[in-house]
């Protein structure tokens, strides 16, 4: 059962006289509960693909289906509902609201979903406990380290029990150890909540936890590798390096 399906999506950016074809027709299917990494060098179109999947941007042509529903057909209310309850977002630069405490950041999506303040607070405390920040719920983002901020963002992404977690370079602004911790946290939440995790990354630490890795190059899917085949490849990369 595919939770996300893309059909020949293309994205063309027009910058003055120059047109840049960021995606040249991508077909991709993501299964429920999968942990999938989209890999590729910067400029390969992986972030663009990622934004299309998340309904954060519209493709120039082609279709994106989430749970077999064509995203382009949704009106503003349905799109907001989708972003609120179906998808949880994690960003490279965390994107926490700077003036809000960790708890307020986590409960914001729940407020948008229509939960009462009390329900949201209880759920937020549980989620922050799960990501290991039970003691720091009333800290503001600037009082937290990068890794802790990203943990808050992970808790926020899981706020409304989404079916899909989209992580855009979640370890991009973190050091090696903290990055590994976040990857493991994501994997653990993926198993515990059964949410499908899709992450755009060029962090090779991500490979070992991914069920599948999609390599994107020059706006097309270069190859898709399953985990079983992946370990050998990582071995050869390490060996040759």
């Amino acid at each position: 059962m595919a939770v996300v399906r893309t059909q020949d999506i293309k994205k063309i950016y027009e910058m003055g006289d120059v047109t840049v074809e960021a995606l040249k027709g991508v077909d991709l299917e993501v299964e429920v509960g999968e942990y999938i990494s989209i890999m590729g060098p910067s400029g390969s179109g992986k972030s663009t693909l990622f934004n299309m999947i998340g309904g954060l941007d519209k493709p120039t042509s082609g279709k994106v289906y989430i749970d077999d529903v064509d995203v382009a057909q949704l009106d503003a209310y349905e799109l907001a509902w989708l972003r609120c309850r179906k998808i949880g977002y994690i960003f490279q630069s965390f994107n926490l609201i700077p003036v809000m405490t960790a708890l307020e950041n986590v409960t914001l999506p729940m407020v948008f979903a229509g939960l009462t303040s009390d329900e949201a607070r209880d759920k937020g405390v549980i989620l922050l406990g799960k990501v290991g920040l039970g003691e720091r719920i009333s800290h503001k983002p600037y009082e937290l380290s990068g890794g802790q901020q990203q943990r808050v963002a992970v808790a926020r992404a899981f706020a409304n029990d989404p079916a899909i977690i989209l992580a855009d370079e979640p370890t991009g602004n973190l050091d090696l150890v903290t990055g590994t911790e976040i990857i493991e946290l994501l994997r653990q939440m993926n198993k515990e909540y059964g949410a499908t995790v899709i992450s755009a990354t060029h962090d090779h630490k991500m490979l070992s936890v991914s069920d599948r890795v999609v390599w994107v190059r020059d706006g097309v899917v270069d190859r898709i590798v399953n985990r079983e085949d992946l370990n050998i490849r990582v071995g050869t990369i390490d060996g040759s390096a």
Partner: protein
């Protein structure tokens, strides 16, 4: 049965409109939380409106003093270099100078207030994009910023009117003594005060709403990518 439940959960729902009270709560908290930043925005509005109000008040008071033909006051006016004969060349020159001052203070209002509001909203584009990702409706974001702008705009304008009026009264009392009070054109000044409030609120609302509207209508990635 299980299958039925599965299909139900796969349907796309429609996002609920949050009640106005929630928008008021969020926007009020937002102003309160960034108190320091709000204070700077508000003081921009206060300064602009205080300038406008003091020019208006002072012009009205001097006009009324001239009309009073009180000998002691006439003497003081002349000492300040103000011509008391309304038909003289100096008087008409002064009138055009005053008009110019009022136009100038209106310009200060226009630029000062819209700039203060524009900055306070555009620096939060990333936040607007994030809120859209979390499932906020465009209308809700616009509502929050509308409320925030009106909180700050109204507070700033009212304080500005009070500050501008009191300072002018203080300075004029020092210049013309307490007999000034019998000639103060209260009705005119209240009218000017109301006009200043209308101008200030209108400018702060438009200055705050236009960028918020623009950001709310963007695709979330574009709003987050925008560096201001």
């Amino acid at each position: 049965m299980a299958q039925q439940k599965a299909t139900a959960s796969r349907e796309i729902g429609s996002q609920v409109n949050l009640p106005l009270s929630k928008a008021i709560e969020i926007s009020f908290n937002s102003v309160k939380i960034r108190f320091g930043r709000s204070l700077i925005t508000v003081s921009g509005i206060v300064l602009a409106i205080a300038f406008l109000m003091s020019i208006w008040t002072n012009t009205a008071i001097i006009d009324s003093l001239k009309r009073s033909n009180d000998p002691t006051i006439n003497l003081k006016l002349q000492q300040k270099g103000i011509d008391i004969d309304p038909d003289s060349a100096a008087s008409s020159q002064e009138r055009s100078k005053n008009t110019w001052l009022i136009v100038l203070s209106l310009l200060v209002c226009l630029v000062g207030i819209t700039n203060a509001m524009l900055m306070s909203v555009t620096e939060r584009f990333r936040e607007i994009g994030t809120m859209k990702c979390m499932g906020a409706l465009d209308g809700f974001i616009i509502k929050i910023f509308l409320l925030e702008s009106s909180f700050m705009g109204t507070a700033g304008t009212i304080i500005g009117v009070i500050v501008g009026f009191s300072l002018t009264m203080l300075l004029d009392t020092i210049s013309y003594g307490s007999q000034l009070y019998q000639y103060v054109p209260w009705v005119g000044i209240v009218q000017f005060g109301l006009m200043a409030i209308v101008i200030g609120s209108f400018l702060s609302l438009t200055g705050g709403i236009l960028p918020a509207y623009r950001a709310a209508k963007m695709e979330p990635v574009d709003a987050m990518r925008l560096e201001v």
